[in-house]
Symmetry: C2
Subunit: 392 residues, 2 copies
């Protein structure tokens, strides 16, 4: 269902030969309108891949008629040639779609084709394969291609990720990839969302920013921020329904939250999903800062892998932040057992049952009324193995 759950979209996912193992590696999503509205959020890493720089320009135009995504190469840190390759890919997509006559009502323009890439940094894409792959994908576009598109954007993902939410006569659907290099700052993965709701670009932008702020922006698998992270939301208006802003925003948030959880659940080498809830913070910013500090503490991540309720490591992580709190008023629960009370020993740590994949850490700052939830993963030998041999 994925990106073709909503009316007005076709998609395809094919093997272009970018990946040496022959797996699918090129996806195409086309918006057939009547509306071509779009919004996007991109990595806040200052080292941005060529496709991010290109797609930011495309979004500036306010219309996106197609998105082409490749796995097997990030096209990041590839200099002027990398940017030319991204540009050439967008031109090829527009040309191929126009030749195929997919949208009799209007020509596809390269400037309305967003490009996303994911894979190893620092290598140029095999452009001959990309061009042939675009033709192949255009030939296979169907209103049922969402699943194949979601499969083609996988890198080290073990499963493909899709989600759908429905409103009163309209639908929001999406696909995501991302299994490592997940951290906030922004989107932290490739995500394409589509909707047939009739929403202008400004409305899409507001809904998407609100949604990513509390979903993708609050998963922190390994503290590393990518050069390629992109989240796009495309609206075809094909349902003819203009939803209430609040209902639409909630549907977008639901799909983003679902996909974000799937990313954490499939993170490289992880054996635990850690839900960190910071409560009674003086501000939401404080809660997020503390949550991220806990999420990024390697010693704690190892302890959780070992099913060890080592709350001292939670306190030492909190202590590195600038959030408002008094050390002797901090409380920490692991899986609802308050193992730390008033900055000191609380309930018996042997009461904590950590056998299951989900681990809940609650940090009570006793400093206000705000809260935030951050999702993270444990640190495992499998993570080390996957990431010590990735490019070789």
């Amino acid at each position: 269902m994925s990106v073709t759950a909503a009316q007005g979209f076709t998609a395809a996912g094919i093997a272009a030969g970018i990946k040496e193992n022959g797996n699918p590696d090129l996806a195409l999503v086309v918006n057939h309108g009547p509306r071509l509205a779009a919004a996007g959020v991109f990595t806040s890493n200052r080292v941005k891949a060529a496709p991010v720089l290109w797609s930011e320009q495309v979004l500036g135009g306010g219309e996106v008629s197609a998105v082409v995504l490749n796995s097997g190469g990030a096209n990041a840190c590839t200099g002027p040639q990398g940017f030319q390759d991204t540009h050439a890919t967008a031109e090829k997509v527009a040309e191929s779609l126009n030749t195929a006559g997919h949208d009799a009502s209007g020509e596809h323009a390269p400037g309305a084709v967003a490009v996303c890439s994911t894979g190893l940094i620092g290598e140029l894409l095999p452009m001959k394969k990309v061009r042939m792959g675009v033709d192949k994908a255009v030939a296979q576009l169907t209103p049922h291609g969402g699943e194949k598109a979601a499969i083609a954007i996988k890198t080290t993902d073990s499963v493909h990720k899709t989600a759908v939410a429905t409103g009163d006569g309209w639908t929001v659907g999406g696909m995501a990839k991302g299994a490592g290099m997940l951290a906030p700052g922004l989107a932290t993965m490739l995500v394409v969302l589509t909707t047939d709701a009739d929403v202008p670009a400004a409305g899409l932008d507001a809904a998407l920013r609100a949604a990513t702020r509390t979903t993708f922006d609050r998963v922190d698998s390994d503290g590393c921020m990518s050069t390629n992270d992109t989240v796009l939301l495309l609206a075809s208006g094909a349902s003819g329904v203009a939803p209430e802003a609040a209902a639409f925003a909630e549907a977008v948030r639901t799909v983003c939250d679902d996909l974000a959880r799937q990313l954490i659940g499939d993170a490289e080498g992880a054996s635990k999903d850690i839900r960190i809830e910071v409560i009674n913070a003086a501000s939401e910013d404080d809660a997020v800062e503390v949550g991220r500090s806990i999420a990024r503490n390697n010693l704690l991540k190892c302890a959780i892998h070992g099913e060890d309720p080592n709350w001292g490591r939670v306190l030492s992580a909190i202590g590195t932040t600038s959030a408002a709190f008094e050390p002797d008023r901090l409380n920490v629960a692991i899986n609802d057992v308050w193992v730390c009370r008033n900055g000191s020993v609380g309930e018996d740590r042997t009461l904590v049952d950590m056998r299951y994949r989900e681990v809940r850490i609650t940090a009570d700052l006793a400093a206000g009324d705000d809260s935030a939830v951050i999702w993270a993963n444990d640190l495992t030998a499998d993570y080390v193995h996957e990431n010590s041999a990735y490019s070789s």
Copy 2:
């Protein structure tokens, strides 16, 4: 020779039974004067262990006559009882030293006894064993006890760490422990330095702060900041020589640098020591910020473990900082091969030889004249194993 290389000091290291395995776990260092000057730097973690809070008070008085250190328990996050225990330990040391008549010229006061603890957070110390251990250590104090003291402060350290530098008629010596939870912010380990130079407290403080800023404060093994980090410098004045400030500062820096490198070389589970030099930065602060960001990037740390010169991960780490740079002017060398030039592909990555323990990363920001060196370790399955089973 450690803390007894300088004249005027005795030391001991004994097994008090705090560690269940019977290994040495209590060290005592006594300054016999004639001067009792001292300086200290402590963790900048806001969650500070009881002995840190106590020793900060002691240093406020400007005189330290003895330092007692225990491994086997951090006495952190232990509430009012933990602080009382630290206080009681200092009282016991003063009482035992006075009973033994070690310094006929003056009484030891509890307020001049610094206390350091290291080990698991969140558990009270077995005070009966600590008290008996203090008596045992006092009975074994000798001017040759530096080595045993260095052994008694080990936790997961595989070797004990000592260093000495000599001036014209005076000496600076020291010992350190620390193998995990090493990160800047401050001292990040337990270190006691002694000197027989005749230097007042203000001179010690200036030399120690200058030295730690560019040594202990620039090792970042795993990004985790401890609750107990302490570096103390004690001066007996027993040489009768008042050295020039610059020569003394350089000797202190030399000993700190030596010990800091030993800490990185013995970090938990590490297989590589990574020297990260950031050059041509707009400011030293920028250079340090970029160096730490590279040092803490888990994906890069895994790649280096796998002997993979994955420079894209260096660039993505640089991109998360606020330092002055242009992405397309960044250059990166790994073991002197400039694999990244102008933010893009540089020399052939297969030229990089990463077989040896030391790996050198050079990041050229092309933005100014400042530089800094940060030392880090790789991320290994052994690190995960050691830290997932630490408290159990």
